[in-house]
Symmetry: C2
């Protein structure tokens, strides 16, 4: 069997330590194509560039590697990779390693996870990796080992239909990580606290800040796993239908006049 | 009972005909607060503004109304509305009316639907409306009647837990619309076809284009409803866990060394 082809992307930008560490972790598994935003794109969700053209240019990376920098969003990167750069669908897409957690509701805001979701929509087995440490100087050495374990399994098992993986890694040395748990997305949300300031011209502006509030005491969630020293592997889907809500909506009796 | 408070937003921008028509349709139901982007934000998905501050300013709208224009994304609009402008949680959030369909996989790219999803995450009953006509001059008269029917029901029935509604309206006169169907999200995806051009300096750039490809022949989908002259009401959730995938992932046997 020929070596698998792995597409690597992220949302923190092509020069971020996280994507360099992801590349180091997966380099022995196959041929690599690296396509990532040319600037940080955190919080971009599943945004695509509508109404403005995209640039894609070769970029010299660490260890003599060549990658592609894209002027758009993380999802644009995946679309350009599969639509312009690659002749065949890659065997695996890995996104990250994100600087900061993407557990619970953060999955819907995350550019890292949206890149992975775009891969899954296109039929590519796809995994997003995040380390629970926002620091630019975060220690990714344990994360590299976790990535290797999960990528090896992903290359040797079929990805469940319509599914991608959201992997969150606690900020701990490898010998303090207790194991790997399959989890569900914890119920929770970000509670906004806007920081209002006045500019030199006397006009207000607002910085978005917020605190995460968990509303779930389950022992099977991603938040529980991380808080208890486990790696969380949460399967994510892009069929957003709330199937449980179909019966009650039929009782709304919506009719035309 | 006091009149309900309805928060109105969109992704096409505060001056779009769609949000003006939505406002006209819901004005008799309650007090209105209108907060929308100051420029078109189609395709922004669930993006939020990270690393740049937001502006929020009063805007004079048609019919002597006052609204709020926001420099950020559709999700930023909802966050600023609930975090800065409003003292109490609104009773209903309506987003749209989008110029163009948001059925099938388009829900994950849609700013209109992401604004509604943000409302739902914050515990507000939320509905996104889209008309299957991308034209700026689209006829929203049938859409106004559909909005009235659905908003009346939404104000008098509890929204199922963790759910928002994705309403898509066919581009037909009211007397040619066959009814309102509760649907599921059709399986499908956008297949990219990048239009590569060369700028005056000789460098390439890319326009994202694409064709929607349906991969679902179910009679219970949003795409089927729209193709057959029905309004589609699809319940959407923000718990993205692929619960069906949990058992097979447990068989991957991921262990630390």
């Amino acid at each position: 069997m020929s070596k698998p082809h792995i597409l690597i992307c992220n949302d923190d930008g092509i020069t971020a330590p996280g994507i360099q560490n992801l590349t180091e972790a997966v380099k022995s598994f196959g041929h690599l194509t690296i396509v990532a935003p040319d600037s940080p794109q955190s919080g971009m969700g599943h945004a695509i560039s509508v109404g403005k053209p995209l640039r894609l240019y070769e970029s010299q990376l660490a260890h003599g590697r060549t990658g592609w920098a894209c002027s758009g969003t993380p999802v644009d990167c995946v679309k350009l990779a599969t639509g312009v750069l690659l002749k065949e669908k890659p065997d695996l897409l890995v996104s990250g390693i994100n600087h900061g957690a993407n557990s619970s509701i953060s999955v819907v805001y995350s550019g890292t996870m949206s890149a992975a979701m775009e891969g899954a929509i296109e039929g590519i087995p796809s995994i997003g990796f995040s380390l629970c440490d926002f620091s630019h100087q975060a220690d990714f050495s344990a994360s590299q080992e976790i990535v290797k374990i999960i990528v090896e399994r992903a290359l040797n098992n079929p990805m469940p239909t319509g599914t991608l993986l959201n992997v969150n890694i606690p900020a701990l040395p490898l010998d303090q990580i207790k194991g790997i748990r399959i989890t569900r997305q914890a119920i929770g949300r970000w509670v906004e606290e806007f920081d209002q300031r006045i500019d030199p011209a006397g006009r207000p502006y607002y910085w978005l800040t917020g605190k995460f509030k968990i509303e779930d005491d389950g022992l099977d969630t991603d938040e529980w796993a991380l808080a208890n020293g486990f790696v969380s592997v949460c399967p994510v889907q892009f069929d957003l239908t709330a199937h449980h809500a179909l019966p009650s909506l039929n009782h709304w009796n919506m009719h035309l006049p």
